[in-house]
Protein backbone atom coordinates (compact mmCIF):
# COMPACT_ATOMS: atom_id res chain seq x y z
CA UNK A 1 0.00 0.00 0.00
CA UNK A 2 2.81 2.39 0.89
CA UNK A 3 4.53 1.56 -2.40
CA UNK A 4 1.40 2.40 -4.33
CA UNK A 5 1.03 5.69 -2.48
CA UNK A 6 4.60 6.68 -3.27
CA UNK A 7 4.08 5.64 -6.90
CA UNK A 8 1.06 7.94 -7.01
CA UNK A 9 2.89 10.89 -5.44
CA UNK A 10 5.83 10.17 -7.71
CA UNK A 11 3.71 10.36 -10.85
CA UNK A 12 1.83 13.49 -9.71
CA UNK A 13 4.77 15.62 -8.55
CA UNK A 14 8.24 14.22 -9.15
CA UNK A 15 7.67 12.72 -12.59
CA UNK A 16 4.83 15.04 -13.59
CA UNK A 17 3.92 13.84 -17.07
CA UNK A 18 3.55 17.41 -18.31
CA UNK A 19 6.08 19.52 -16.47
CA UNK A 20 8.83 16.92 -16.10
CA UNK A 21 8.40 14.91 -19.33
CA UNK A 22 6.63 17.58 -21.42
CA UNK A 23 4.03 15.18 -22.80
CA UNK A 24 0.56 16.41 -23.69
CA UNK A 25 1.63 19.99 -24.36
CA UNK A 26 -0.80 20.66 -27.23
CA UNK A 27 -4.03 20.52 -25.28
CA UNK A 28 -2.23 21.98 -22.23
CA UNK A 29 -1.55 25.12 -24.23
CA UNK A 30 -4.77 25.17 -26.22
CA UNK A 31 -7.47 24.37 -23.63
CA UNK A 32 -6.08 26.37 -20.69
CA UNK A 33 -7.86 29.66 -21.32
CA UNK A 34 -10.70 28.90 -18.93
CA UNK A 35 -10.49 27.17 -15.53
CA UNK A 36 -13.80 25.31 -15.80
CA UNK A 37 -12.97 23.87 -19.22
CA UNK A 38 -9.49 22.96 -18.06
CA UNK A 39 -10.96 21.15 -15.04
CA UNK A 40 -13.36 19.25 -17.29
CA UNK A 41 -10.61 18.18 -19.65
CA UNK A 42 -8.45 17.29 -16.66
CA UNK A 43 -11.08 14.89 -15.33
CA UNK A 44 -11.53 13.40 -18.81
CA UNK A 45 -7.77 12.79 -19.04
CA UNK A 46 -7.67 11.23 -15.57
CA UNK A 47 -10.52 8.90 -16.55
CA UNK A 48 -9.02 7.94 -19.90
CA UNK A 49 -5.60 7.33 -18.35
CA UNK A 50 -6.96 5.25 -15.47
CA UNK A 51 -8.80 3.02 -17.96
CA UNK A 52 -6.30 2.81 -20.83
CA UNK A 53 -3.29 2.09 -18.69
CA UNK A 54 -4.57 -1.25 -17.23
CA UNK A 55 -6.31 -2.24 -20.48
CA UNK A 56 -3.07 -1.74 -22.36
CA UNK A 57 -1.28 -3.66 -19.62
CA UNK A 58 -3.60 -6.62 -20.12
CA UNK A 59 -3.21 -6.55 -23.88
CA UNK A 60 0.54 -6.15 -23.73
CA UNK A 61 1.20 -8.85 -21.18
CA UNK A 62 -1.52 -11.16 -22.53
CA UNK A 63 -0.74 -10.91 -26.24
CA UNK A 64 2.20 -8.78 -27.23
CA UNK A 65 5.07 -9.29 -24.79
CA UNK A 66 7.83 -11.74 -25.73
CA UNK A 67 6.58 -15.23 -24.87
CA UNK A 68 3.09 -14.01 -23.94
CA UNK A 69 1.50 -16.32 -26.48
CA UNK A 70 3.03 -19.49 -25.06
CA UNK A 71 -0.48 -20.67 -24.02
CA UNK A 72 -1.29 -20.84 -27.75
CA UNK A 73 1.78 -22.93 -28.40
CA UNK A 74 3.89 -20.04 -29.68
CA UNK A 75 6.50 -19.42 -26.94
CA UNK A 76 9.04 -17.79 -29.27
CA UNK A 77 6.69 -15.20 -30.71
CA UNK A 78 7.47 -11.56 -29.87
CA UNK A 79 4.76 -9.18 -30.96
CA UNK A 80 5.92 -6.22 -28.89
CA UNK A 81 6.69 -4.25 -32.06
CA UNK A 82 2.91 -3.96 -32.40
CA UNK A 83 2.53 -2.13 -29.11
CA UNK A 84 2.40 1.38 -30.60
CA UNK A 85 -0.42 0.70 -33.02
CA UNK A 86 -2.34 -1.44 -30.52
CA UNK A 87 -2.06 1.15 -27.76
CA UNK A 88 -3.22 3.91 -30.08
CA UNK A 89 -6.20 1.84 -31.20
CA UNK A 90 -7.20 1.07 -27.60
CA UNK A 91 -6.84 4.71 -26.60
CA UNK A 92 -8.91 5.88 -29.58
CA UNK A 93 -11.68 3.43 -28.75
CA UNK A 94 -11.83 4.45 -25.09
CA UNK A 95 -11.79 8.15 -25.97
CA UNK A 96 -14.76 7.53 -28.27
CA UNK A 97 -16.62 5.99 -25.36
CA UNK A 98 -15.74 8.92 -23.07
CA UNK A 99 -16.91 11.34 -25.74
CA UNK A 100 -20.29 9.66 -25.96
CA UNK A 101 -20.66 9.61 -22.17
CA UNK A 102 -19.82 13.31 -21.84
CA UNK A 103 -22.13 14.19 -24.71
CA UNK A 104 -24.95 12.38 -22.98
CA UNK A 105 -24.45 13.64 -19.43
CA UNK A 106 -22.82 17.05 -19.83
CA UNK A 107 -23.59 18.66 -23.20
CA UNK A 108 -22.17 21.97 -21.96
CA UNK A 109 -18.76 20.47 -21.23
CA UNK A 110 -18.98 18.59 -24.53
CA UNK A 111 -19.54 21.86 -26.36
CA UNK A 112 -16.74 23.74 -24.59
CA UNK A 113 -14.20 20.97 -25.03
CA UNK A 114 -15.11 20.83 -28.72
CA UNK A 115 -12.43 19.36 -30.91
CA UNK A 116 -10.06 18.80 -27.99
CA UNK A 117 -12.09 15.94 -26.60
CA UNK A 118 -11.45 13.61 -29.57
CA UNK A 119 -7.94 15.00 -29.61
CA UNK A 120 -7.30 13.30 -26.24
CA UNK A 121 -6.86 10.23 -28.42
CA UNK A 122 -3.65 11.69 -29.81
CA UNK A 123 -2.64 13.37 -26.55
CA UNK A 124 0.97 12.29 -26.08
CA UNK A 125 0.46 12.04 -22.31
CA UNK A 126 -1.92 9.09 -22.76
CA UNK A 127 0.32 7.07 -25.08
CA UNK A 128 3.37 8.14 -23.09
CA UNK A 129 1.86 6.77 -19.87
CA UNK A 130 1.16 3.39 -21.51
CA UNK A 131 4.68 3.20 -22.89
CA UNK A 132 6.25 4.20 -19.56
CA UNK A 133 4.11 1.54 -17.91
CA UNK A 134 5.59 -1.13 -20.22
CA UNK A 135 9.12 0.21 -19.96
CA UNK A 136 9.11 0.29 -16.15
CA UNK A 137 7.59 -3.20 -15.78
CA UNK A 138 4.68 -2.19 -13.60
CA UNK A 139 2.21 -4.77 -12.35
CA UNK A 140 -1.49 -4.50 -13.18
CA UNK A 141 -2.36 -2.67 -9.95
CA UNK A 142 0.64 -0.38 -10.33
CA UNK A 143 -0.43 0.45 -13.87
CA UNK A 144 -3.84 1.61 -12.60
CA UNK A 145 -2.24 3.78 -9.91
CA UNK A 146 0.32 5.11 -12.37
CA UNK A 147 -2.41 6.00 -14.87
CA UNK A 148 -4.47 7.80 -12.24
CA UNK A 149 -1.37 9.58 -10.90
CA UNK A 150 -0.23 10.75 -14.31
CA UNK A 151 -3.72 12.03 -15.03
CA UNK A 152 -3.89 13.86 -11.70
CA UNK A 153 -0.51 15.46 -12.34
CA UNK A 154 -1.64 16.53 -15.79
CA UNK A 155 -4.84 18.00 -14.40
CA UNK A 156 -2.97 19.83 -11.63
CA UNK A 157 -0.73 21.43 -14.25
CA UNK A 158 -3.50 22.44 -16.65
CA UNK A 159 -5.78 23.83 -13.93
CA UNK A 160 -2.99 25.91 -12.41
CA UNK A 161 -1.89 27.31 -15.77
CA UNK A 162 -5.53 28.13 -16.52
CA UNK A 163 -5.67 30.14 -13.27
CA UNK A 164 -2.40 31.86 -14.16
CA UNK A 165 -3.66 32.72 -17.63
CA UNK A 166 -6.76 34.22 -16.09
CA UNK A 167 -4.48 36.44 -14.02
CA UNK A 168 -2.27 37.35 -16.98
CA UNK A 169 -5.27 38.61 -18.91
CA UNK A 170 -4.34 41.91 -17.29
CA UNK A 171 -0.75 41.57 -18.40
CA UNK A 172 0.68 43.84 -21.05
CA UNK A 173 2.58 41.31 -23.12
CA UNK A 174 4.79 42.48 -26.01
CA UNK A 175 3.08 41.99 -29.37
CA UNK A 176 5.17 39.10 -30.63
CA UNK A 177 4.67 37.09 -27.44
CA UNK A 178 0.91 37.35 -27.10
CA UNK A 179 -1.04 34.11 -26.89
CA UNK A 180 1.04 30.98 -27.31
CA UNK A 181 4.38 32.71 -26.79
CA UNK A 182 3.69 33.90 -23.27
CA UNK A 183 1.93 30.61 -22.45
CA UNK A 184 5.07 28.70 -23.39
CA UNK A 185 7.11 31.02 -21.16
CA UNK A 186 4.68 30.45 -18.27
CA UNK A 187 4.90 26.68 -18.86
CA UNK A 188 8.68 26.93 -18.75
CA UNK A 189 8.62 28.88 -15.48
CA UNK A 190 6.20 26.32 -14.02
CA UNK A 191 8.49 23.49 -15.06
CA UNK A 192 11.36 25.30 -13.33
CA UNK A 193 9.42 25.39 -10.06
CA UNK A 194 8.50 21.72 -10.42
CA UNK A 195 12.22 20.95 -10.44
CA UNK A 196 11.84 21.35 -6.69
CA UNK A 197 10.91 17.67 -6.55
CA UNK A 198 13.63 16.38 -8.86
CA UNK A 199 16.02 14.19 -6.96
CA UNK A 200 13.49 12.84 -4.48
CA UNK A 201 13.40 9.05 -4.45
CA UNK A 202 10.35 7.49 -2.92
Amino acid sequence: MGDLLSLFINSVFIGNILLAYFLGMCSFIAVSKNIETATGLGFAVIFVLTVTSPVNWLIYHGLLAPGALSWAGLPDLDLSFLKFITFIAVIAAIVQAVEMIIDKYSPLLYATLGVFLPLIAVNCAILGTSLFMVERNYTLVESIVFGAGSGTGWMLAIVSIAAIRKKTQYADVPKGLEGFGITMIIAGLMAMTFMMFSGITL
Binding site: S160, K166, A171, D172, I182, L189, F194, F197, I200
Partner: protein, 384 residues
Amino acid sequence: MNPLKKLFDQNEPRFTGTGKYKKFAPLFEATKTFFFFPSPKTLVMPFIRDHLDLKRYMSFVLIALLPVLIFGIYNTGFQSGLALGKEFGLVKSFLTGLSYVLPIIIVSYGVGFFWEILFAVIRKHKISEGFLVTGILFPLTLPATIPLWQVALGISFGVIIGKEVFGGTGRNILNPALTARAFIFFSYPISMSGNIWVANTVDGLSSATALAVTAINGESISHALSTAGFSLSNLFLGFVPGSIGETSALACLLGAFFLILTRIANFRIILGGITGLIITAILFYIIPEGQGTWAKAGPLYHLFAGGFLFGICFMATDPVSAPGTNAGRWTFGILIGFLTVTIRVVNPAFVEGTMLAILFMNVFAPLVDHLVIKYKNSKRIPNV
Protein backbone atom coordinates in the same frame (compact mmCIF):
# COMPACT_ATOMS: atom_id res chain seq x y z
CA MET B 1 11.64 78.34 -5.34
CA ASN B 2 13.47 75.17 -4.60
CA PRO B 3 16.45 75.01 -7.05
CA LEU B 4 15.91 71.30 -7.59
CA LYS B 5 12.30 71.86 -8.55
CA LYS B 6 13.40 74.67 -10.84
CA LEU B 7 15.80 72.34 -12.60
CA PHE B 8 13.07 69.79 -13.21
CA ASP B 9 10.56 72.40 -14.34
CA GLN B 10 13.05 73.92 -16.76
CA ASN B 11 13.86 70.60 -18.35
CA GLU B 12 10.35 69.24 -18.44
CA PRO B 13 9.49 70.58 -21.96
CA ARG B 14 12.43 68.67 -23.40
CA PHE B 15 10.91 65.39 -22.30
CA THR B 16 7.25 66.00 -23.04
CA GLY B 17 5.20 66.68 -26.15
CA THR B 18 7.49 67.24 -29.09
CA GLY B 19 10.60 67.74 -26.96
CA LYS B 20 13.99 66.58 -28.07
CA TYR B 21 14.35 63.78 -25.52
CA LYS B 22 10.73 62.62 -25.62
CA LYS B 23 11.91 59.01 -25.80
CA PHE B 24 13.40 59.23 -22.35
CA ALA B 25 10.24 60.59 -20.75
CA PRO B 26 9.94 57.54 -18.43
CA LEU B 27 13.43 58.16 -17.10
CA PHE B 28 12.68 61.83 -16.44
CA GLU B 29 9.41 61.05 -14.76
CA ALA B 30 11.01 58.38 -12.55
CA THR B 31 13.78 60.74 -11.44
CA LYS B 32 11.32 63.54 -10.77
CA THR B 33 8.91 61.51 -8.69
CA PHE B 34 11.87 60.23 -6.73
CA PHE B 35 12.19 63.75 -5.28
CA PHE B 36 8.65 65.10 -5.53
CA PHE B 37 5.17 63.72 -5.22
CA PRO B 38 3.66 63.25 -8.65
CA SER B 39 1.47 66.24 -9.51
CA PRO B 40 -1.22 64.68 -11.75
CA LYS B 41 -4.50 64.18 -9.93
CA THR B 42 -7.16 61.62 -10.60
CA LEU B 43 -9.91 63.27 -12.61
CA VAL B 44 -12.58 60.59 -12.85
CA MET B 45 -14.03 58.15 -10.39
CA PRO B 46 -13.25 55.97 -8.50
CA PHE B 47 -11.24 58.04 -6.01
CA ILE B 48 -9.23 56.23 -3.39
CA ARG B 49 -7.44 58.12 -0.64
CA ASP B 50 -4.27 56.52 0.54
CA HIS B 51 -0.98 57.95 1.66
CA LEU B 52 0.89 55.09 0.03
CA ASP B 53 1.82 55.25 -3.60
CA LEU B 54 3.98 52.57 -5.16
CA LYS B 55 7.18 54.50 -4.58
CA ARG B 56 6.59 54.94 -0.83
CA TYR B 57 5.45 51.34 -0.63
CA MET B 58 8.67 50.09 -2.14
CA SER B 59 10.88 52.44 -0.15
CA PHE B 60 9.35 51.07 3.08
CA VAL B 61 10.52 47.62 2.00
CA LEU B 62 13.98 49.07 1.47
CA ILE B 63 13.94 50.50 5.01
CA ALA B 64 12.88 47.10 6.33
CA LEU B 65 15.78 45.51 4.49
CA LEU B 66 18.36 47.83 6.08
CA PRO B 67 19.06 45.69 9.19
CA VAL B 68 19.41 42.61 6.99
CA LEU B 69 21.70 44.42 4.60
CA ILE B 70 23.93 45.98 7.25
CA PHE B 71 24.25 42.77 9.20
CA GLY B 72 24.80 40.86 5.97
CA ILE B 73 27.72 43.09 5.02
CA TYR B 74 29.24 42.81 8.47
CA ASN B 75 28.81 39.03 8.61
CA THR B 76 30.26 38.54 5.13
CA GLY B 77 33.45 40.27 6.23
CA PHE B 78 33.48 38.45 9.56
CA GLN B 79 33.06 35.04 7.92
CA SER B 80 35.71 35.71 5.31
CA GLY B 81 38.05 36.57 8.17
CA LEU B 82 37.21 33.32 9.95
CA ALA B 83 37.86 31.38 6.76
CA LEU B 84 41.36 32.86 6.69
CA GLY B 85 41.83 31.89 10.31
CA LYS B 86 41.68 35.44 11.68
CA GLU B 87 39.13 37.26 13.77
CA PHE B 88 38.32 40.62 12.20
CA GLY B 89 37.21 43.59 14.29
CA LEU B 90 33.96 45.45 13.69
CA VAL B 91 35.28 48.02 11.23
CA LYS B 92 37.55 45.61 9.39
CA SER B 93 34.71 43.08 9.04
CA PHE B 94 32.41 45.76 7.73
CA LEU B 95 34.90 47.05 5.19
CA THR B 96 35.85 43.57 3.98
CA GLY B 97 32.18 42.69 3.69
CA LEU B 98 31.54 45.88 1.76
CA SER B 99 34.25 44.95 -0.72
CA TYR B 100 32.37 41.71 -1.42
CA VAL B 101 28.79 42.92 -1.29
CA LEU B 102 28.97 46.34 -2.90
CA PRO B 103 30.09 45.11 -6.36
CA ILE B 104 27.27 42.56 -6.38
CA ILE B 105 24.68 45.21 -5.52
CA ILE B 106 26.10 47.65 -8.08
CA VAL B 107 26.00 45.01 -10.84
CA SER B 108 22.49 43.95 -9.86
CA TYR B 109 21.13 47.51 -9.90
CA GLY B 110 23.14 48.57 -12.94
CA VAL B 111 22.19 45.67 -15.19
CA GLY B 112 18.63 45.54 -13.91
CA PHE B 113 18.01 49.24 -14.46
CA PHE B 114 19.51 48.98 -17.93
CA TRP B 115 16.79 46.46 -18.88
CA GLU B 116 14.09 48.41 -17.04
CA ILE B 117 14.96 51.61 -18.92
CA LEU B 118 15.30 49.80 -22.24
CA PHE B 119 11.85 48.26 -21.89
CA ALA B 120 10.33 51.50 -20.61
CA VAL B 121 11.71 53.51 -23.52
CA ILE B 122 10.79 51.01 -26.23
CA ARG B 123 7.43 49.96 -24.85
CA LYS B 124 6.62 53.49 -23.62
CA HIS B 125 5.55 52.51 -20.12
CA LYS B 126 6.71 54.13 -16.92
CA ILE B 127 9.76 52.98 -15.02
CA SER B 128 8.43 51.20 -12.01
CA GLU B 129 9.80 51.40 -8.51
CA GLY B 130 9.36 47.66 -8.05
CA PHE B 131 12.87 47.13 -9.29
CA LEU B 132 14.32 49.09 -6.37
CA VAL B 133 13.28 46.15 -4.21
CA THR B 134 14.05 43.35 -6.68
CA GLY B 135 17.51 44.78 -7.31
CA ILE B 136 18.45 44.57 -3.63
CA LEU B 137 16.58 41.35 -2.74
CA PHE B 138 18.40 39.38 -5.41
CA PRO B 139 21.95 40.15 -4.16
CA LEU B 140 20.89 39.36 -0.60
CA THR B 141 19.97 35.81 -1.63
CA LEU B 142 23.37 35.16 -3.18
CA PRO B 143 26.56 33.82 -1.63
CA ALA B 144 29.13 36.61 -1.40
CA THR B 145 31.65 34.75 -3.52
CA ILE B 146 29.48 34.49 -6.62
CA PRO B 147 31.14 35.67 -9.89
CA LEU B 148 29.77 39.05 -10.96
CA TRP B 149 28.86 37.94 -14.49
CA GLN B 150 26.49 35.39 -12.95
CA VAL B 151 24.85 38.20 -10.98
CA ALA B 152 24.37 40.11 -14.24
CA LEU B 153 22.99 37.06 -16.02
CA GLY B 154 20.62 36.22 -13.19
CA ILE B 155 19.16 39.68 -12.80
CA SER B 156 18.73 39.91 -16.59
CA PHE B 157 16.70 36.70 -16.59
CA GLY B 158 14.70 37.81 -13.57
CA VAL B 159 13.84 41.21 -15.00
CA ILE B 160 13.15 40.14 -18.58
CA ILE B 161 11.56 36.70 -18.32
CA GLY B 162 10.31 37.06 -14.76
CA LYS B 163 8.72 40.46 -15.18
CA GLU B 164 9.05 42.53 -18.34
CA VAL B 165 7.60 40.00 -20.79
CA PHE B 166 4.44 40.18 -18.71
CA GLY B 167 4.37 43.96 -18.97
CA GLY B 168 6.32 45.05 -15.89
CA THR B 169 5.68 45.40 -12.18
CA GLY B 170 2.31 44.15 -11.00
CA ARG B 171 1.74 41.72 -13.84
CA ASN B 172 4.38 39.09 -13.19
CA ILE B 173 3.40 35.67 -11.86
CA LEU B 174 6.60 34.72 -10.02
CA ASN B 175 8.71 36.85 -7.72
CA PRO B 176 11.36 38.33 -10.09
CA ALA B 177 14.19 38.20 -7.53
CA LEU B 178 13.54 34.53 -6.82
CA THR B 179 13.15 33.76 -10.53
CA ALA B 180 16.59 35.26 -11.03
CA ARG B 181 18.02 33.23 -8.17
CA ALA B 182 16.41 29.98 -9.32
CA PHE B 183 17.84 30.50 -12.80
CA ILE B 184 21.36 30.92 -11.41
CA PHE B 185 20.78 28.08 -8.95
CA PHE B 186 19.94 25.55 -11.67
CA SER B 187 22.43 26.88 -14.22
CA TYR B 188 25.51 27.16 -12.02
CA PRO B 189 24.92 24.84 -9.08
CA ILE B 190 28.55 24.92 -7.99
CA SER B 191 28.68 28.62 -7.19
CA MET B 192 25.32 28.34 -5.40
CA SER B 193 26.01 25.13 -3.51
CA GLY B 194 26.26 26.71 -0.07
CA ASN B 195 29.96 25.95 0.26
CA ILE B 196 31.38 29.43 0.14
CA TRP B 197 34.81 30.83 0.89
CA VAL B 198 36.37 27.95 -0.98
CA ALA B 199 37.49 29.29 -4.30
CA ASN B 200 38.93 32.64 -3.37
CA THR B 201 40.88 32.03 -0.21
CA VAL B 202 44.54 31.10 -0.39
CA ASP B 203 44.60 28.49 2.34
CA GLY B 204 41.07 27.56 1.26
CA LEU B 205 38.89 26.59 4.15
CA SER B 206 35.53 25.32 3.10
CA SER B 207 32.62 26.38 5.25
CA ALA B 208 29.32 24.69 4.59
CA THR B 209 26.00 26.17 5.62
CA ALA B 210 24.10 24.77 8.57
CA LEU B 211 21.66 22.92 6.36
CA ALA B 212 24.44 20.87 4.79
CA VAL B 213 25.36 19.35 8.16
CA THR B 214 24.41 15.76 8.83
CA ALA B 215 25.25 13.82 11.93
CA ILE B 216 27.44 10.75 11.70
CA ASN B 217 28.11 7.85 14.08
CA GLY B 218 24.69 7.97 15.66
CA GLU B 219 24.99 11.34 17.36
CA SER B 220 21.98 13.63 17.28
CA ILE B 221 21.65 16.37 14.67
CA SER B 222 21.53 19.17 17.22
CA HIS B 223 24.78 17.90 18.73
CA ALA B 224 26.40 17.72 15.31
CA LEU B 225 25.20 21.22 14.57
CA SER B 226 26.61 22.74 17.71
CA THR B 227 29.98 20.99 17.18
CA ALA B 228 30.06 22.56 13.71
CA GLY B 229 29.47 26.00 15.27
CA PHE B 230 25.77 26.25 14.54
CA SER B 231 24.31 26.68 17.99
CA LEU B 232 20.75 27.92 18.13
CA SER B 233 21.80 31.36 19.35
CA ASN B 234 24.41 31.67 16.58
CA LEU B 235 21.79 30.79 14.00
CA PHE B 236 19.33 33.26 15.52
CA LEU B 237 21.81 36.13 15.57
CA GLY B 238 23.33 35.12 12.26
CA PHE B 239 27.07 34.64 12.86
CA VAL B 240 27.16 31.73 10.42
CA PRO B 241 28.19 31.34 6.79
CA GLY B 242 25.45 31.53 4.19
CA SER B 243 23.99 33.81 1.57
CA ILE B 244 24.48 37.51 2.26
CA GLY B 245 21.06 38.36 3.64
CA GLU B 246 19.73 35.09 4.97
CA THR B 247 21.90 34.35 7.98
CA SER B 248 20.39 36.52 10.68
CA ALA B 249 16.93 35.48 11.84
CA LEU B 250 16.88 38.49 14.17
CA ALA B 251 17.45 41.03 11.39
CA CYS B 252 14.78 39.38 9.23
CA LEU B 253 12.30 39.47 12.10
CA LEU B 254 13.05 43.16 12.72
CA GLY B 255 12.31 43.88 9.07
CA ALA B 256 9.18 41.77 9.16
CA PHE B 257 7.96 43.59 12.29
CA PHE B 258 8.38 46.93 10.53
CA LEU B 259 6.62 45.69 7.40
CA ILE B 260 3.68 44.31 9.36
CA LEU B 261 3.45 47.49 11.44
CA THR B 262 3.30 49.68 8.34
CA ARG B 263 0.93 47.16 6.70
CA ILE B 264 3.18 46.66 3.71
CA ALA B 265 3.52 42.93 4.25
CA ASN B 266 0.53 40.81 5.09
CA PHE B 267 0.98 39.18 8.49
CA ARG B 268 -1.14 36.19 7.44
CA ILE B 269 1.51 34.98 5.00
CA ILE B 270 4.34 35.31 7.54
CA LEU B 271 2.41 33.75 10.43
CA GLY B 272 1.01 31.02 8.18
CA GLY B 273 4.47 30.19 6.93
CA ILE B 274 5.97 29.96 10.40
CA THR B 275 3.01 27.84 11.58
CA GLY B 276 3.32 25.48 8.63
CA LEU B 277 7.04 25.14 9.16
CA ILE B 278 6.71 24.42 12.88
CA ILE B 279 3.94 21.84 12.44
CA THR B 280 5.79 20.03 9.64
CA ALA B 281 9.06 20.05 11.57
CA ILE B 282 7.31 18.54 14.59
CA LEU B 283 5.71 15.86 12.39
CA PHE B 284 9.08 14.85 10.97
CA TYR B 285 10.48 14.91 14.51
CA ILE B 286 7.84 12.46 15.70
CA ILE B 287 8.01 9.87 12.93
CA PRO B 288 10.81 7.44 13.70
CA GLU B 289 12.75 7.66 10.41
CA GLY B 290 15.84 9.67 9.52
CA GLN B 291 17.96 9.67 12.71
CA GLY B 292 20.83 12.13 12.57
CA THR B 293 19.48 14.09 9.59
CA TRP B 294 17.57 17.36 9.43
CA ALA B 295 14.36 15.40 10.00
CA LYS B 296 15.25 15.33 13.70
CA ALA B 297 16.35 18.95 13.96
CA GLY B 298 13.08 20.14 15.45
CA PRO B 299 11.14 23.32 14.68
CA LEU B 300 13.56 25.92 16.10
CA TYR B 301 16.53 24.83 14.02
CA HIS B 302 14.36 24.67 10.93
CA LEU B 303 13.08 28.17 11.65
CA PHE B 304 16.42 29.88 12.24
CA ALA B 305 18.71 28.00 9.86
CA GLY B 306 18.89 28.68 6.14
CA GLY B 307 16.88 31.30 4.32
CA PHE B 308 13.38 30.54 5.53
CA LEU B 309 12.74 33.70 7.55
CA PHE B 310 14.27 35.90 4.88
CA GLY B 311 12.14 34.22 2.23
CA ILE B 312 8.85 34.26 4.09
CA CYS B 313 9.27 37.87 5.29
CA PHE B 314 10.51 39.54 2.13
CA MET B 315 9.84 37.21 -0.80
CA ALA B 316 6.58 35.44 -0.04
CA THR B 317 4.91 38.70 1.01
CA ASP B 318 5.42 40.21 -2.45
CA PRO B 319 1.86 41.47 -3.06
CA VAL B 320 1.98 40.70 -6.78
CA SER B 321 2.81 37.03 -6.72
CA ALA B 322 1.03 36.12 -3.46
CA PRO B 323 -2.71 35.39 -3.30
CA GLY B 324 -5.07 38.32 -2.80
CA THR B 325 -7.63 36.71 -0.52
CA ASN B 326 -7.09 36.29 3.22
CA ALA B 327 -7.89 32.58 3.30
CA GLY B 328 -5.64 32.21 0.28
CA ARG B 329 -2.81 33.97 2.11
CA TRP B 330 -3.02 31.59 5.08
CA THR B 331 -3.01 28.58 2.73
CA PHE B 332 -0.14 30.03 0.74
CA GLY B 333 1.98 30.64 3.85
CA ILE B 334 1.26 27.29 5.49
CA LEU B 335 2.09 25.38 2.31
CA ILE B 336 5.37 27.29 1.91
CA GLY B 337 6.35 26.27 5.44
CA PHE B 338 5.33 22.67 4.79
CA LEU B 339 7.17 22.42 1.46
CA THR B 340 10.32 24.07 2.84
CA VAL B 341 10.76 21.47 5.57
CA THR B 342 9.72 18.63 3.25
CA ILE B 343 12.34 19.55 0.65
CA ARG B 344 15.02 19.99 3.32
CA VAL B 345 14.28 16.58 4.80
CA VAL B 346 13.12 14.44 1.88
CA ASN B 347 15.00 15.75 -1.16
CA PRO B 348 18.67 14.76 -1.16
CA ALA B 349 19.35 16.99 -4.19
CA PHE B 350 18.71 20.33 -2.47
CA VAL B 351 19.71 21.22 1.07
CA GLU B 352 17.51 24.32 1.13
CA GLY B 353 13.90 24.40 0.03
CA THR B 354 12.68 27.92 0.78
CA MET B 355 13.30 29.45 -2.63
CA LEU B 356 11.67 26.61 -4.56
CA ALA B 357 8.79 26.33 -2.11
CA ILE B 358 7.93 30.03 -2.56
CA LEU B 359 8.22 29.83 -6.36
CA PHE B 360 6.10 26.68 -6.43
CA MET B 361 3.39 28.36 -4.38
CA ASN B 362 3.64 31.48 -6.60
CA VAL B 363 2.59 29.20 -9.46
CA PHE B 364 -0.41 28.00 -7.48
CA ALA B 365 -1.38 31.37 -5.98
CA PRO B 366 -3.91 32.23 -8.73
CA LEU B 367 -5.50 28.79 -8.36
CA VAL B 368 -5.72 29.18 -4.57
CA ASP B 369 -7.43 32.54 -5.04
CA HIS B 370 -9.81 31.08 -7.58
CA LEU B 371 -10.80 28.25 -5.22
CA VAL B 372 -11.30 30.62 -2.28
CA ILE B 373 -13.53 32.91 -4.31
CA LYS B 374 -15.45 29.96 -5.70
CA TYR B 375 -16.02 28.59 -2.20
CA LYS B 376 -17.18 31.97 -0.92
CA ASN B 377 -19.54 32.37 -3.85
CA SER B 378 -21.05 28.98 -3.17
CA LYS B 379 -21.77 30.08 0.42
CA ARG B 380 -23.54 33.20 -0.71
CA ILE B 381 -27.32 33.21 -0.62
CA PRO B 382 -28.37 33.19 -4.28
CA ASN B 383 -30.30 36.15 -5.59
CA VAL B 384 -33.94 35.37 -5.20
